[in-house]
Symmetry: C2
Subunit: 169 residues, 2 copies
C-alpha cells in the first residue's frame, strides 16, 4: 500500500460563538439557531464564485481540539460503544470534520452560515456544494441511529449547549 | 489567523477498476454499476465495528492525481466557469475527495461498496456514516446545477466511462 502522509494548508478559518468544545451541539441540525462565519484567505477568493447560489454547503475542517484518537467510542446520541468510523465523533484517526450548513449569504471572502456546530478558530480545509442530485440519498439503514428516537436524539444532540436564551433550550 | 499546515496519515486504500482518471464517472450516482473496496489498515479494524449496519457511508479520500489547484474551473456537468468551491471538481487547493457510497458488505477490514467513482490506489483518510437524520437535507437552491437537466447531467456525469458492457452505456 502506498500510504505516505498527506499535508494540507487551511484555506481559511471558522468564527463562531462556540468557545468550549464540550458545549457545542453535536451536528448542524441541533445548531439551527447558531450562526457562524467562514473567513476565506483572500488568495482563494476567486474559488468562491457562484457559491452563493447554493442553499447548503459542506464545510470540511480540521478538528484541532479533537484530542487523541480512540477506535471505540460512545457517540453523543447513544451511550453505547461503537467503532469510531460508525460515528461522527471527533476523536478520529484523522480528525476531519464535516458539516452541512445553510449558506445565508456571502460578503466578499466571508461566508455567513446557519447551523454552526464548529468551535471558534477551527481551520477550514475545503468547501463543497451540497446538492439534491449528489447528496440527497434515501438510506435504507441508519445503523445504531435507528435505535434512537428523534426526541432523545434532539436532547442529547444539544449536549451542554444552553442556547442564546440562557438555557431554556 | 492560525493556519498551520495539517498532516494526515491514510487509514487505508481504495481498490477499484478505474485506472485512468479521465474515464471515471463524476459522482457515485453515475457509477452505480461500479463496485469498489476500501482496505483498512489492520490497526484500525476496531474502528469499523457496527459500520455494516449503515446502508450508506461517506468516504473521505486524498485525490492523489488531482493535479495543480485551479480556482476557476468548468465542472464535468456544465461547460461554464465556476469557482472551484462551487463545484466538486478535483483540482482543489486541498484535494480532498468526498463520495457517498452504498455499503454492500464488510469482510473483516475490507468494505465492499457500490457507486465507486474513485481511482484505483487512492489513499483513504476517513469514513463516516451517512444518515437520514444528519445528511438527508432538503435544499432550496442547487446553484448552477439547477440549470442542467437530469438527462444531460447523466450523460456528462459518465464522462468517458464506457461501462462493463463495452460502451453501450
Amino acid at each position: 500500500m502506498s500510504l505516505s502522509p498527506v499535508s494540507y494548508r487551511p484555506i481559511g478559518i471558522i468564527h463562531s460563538a462556540h468557545q468550549v468544545k464540550e458545549k457545542i451541539p453535536a451536528q448542524p441540525i441541533y445548531a439551527q439557531e447558531c450562526l457562524g462565519t467562514a473567513e476565506i484567505l483572500p488568495e482563494f477568493l476567486d474559488g468562491l464564485r457562484d457559491i452563493e447560489e447554493f442553499s447548503h454547503i459542506y464545510l470540511v475542517f480540521h478538528l484541532h481540539e479533537a484530542g487523541p484518537p480512540r477506535l471505540i467510542v460512545k457517540p453523543f446520541l447513544q451511550p453505547q460503544d461503537h467503532g469510531i468510523f460508525a460515528t461522527r465523533a471527533p476523536s478520529r484517526p484523522n480528525p476531519i470534520g464535516l458539516s452541512i450548513v445553510e449558506l445565508v449569504k456571502r460578503v466578499g471572502n466571508i461566508l455567513h452560515f446557519r447551523g454552526c456546530d464548529i468551535l471558534d478558530g477551527t481551520p477550514l480545509l475545503d468547501i463543497k456544494p451540497y446538492t439534491r442530485r449528489f447528496d440527497h440519498i434515501a438510506t435504507q439503514r441508519n445503523g445504531w441511529q435507528d435505535q434512537v428516537d428523534d426526541q432523545t436524539a434532539g436532547q442529547r444532540g444539544l449536549r451542554d449547549y444552553q442556547g442564546s436564551n440562557g438555557g431554556a433550550a
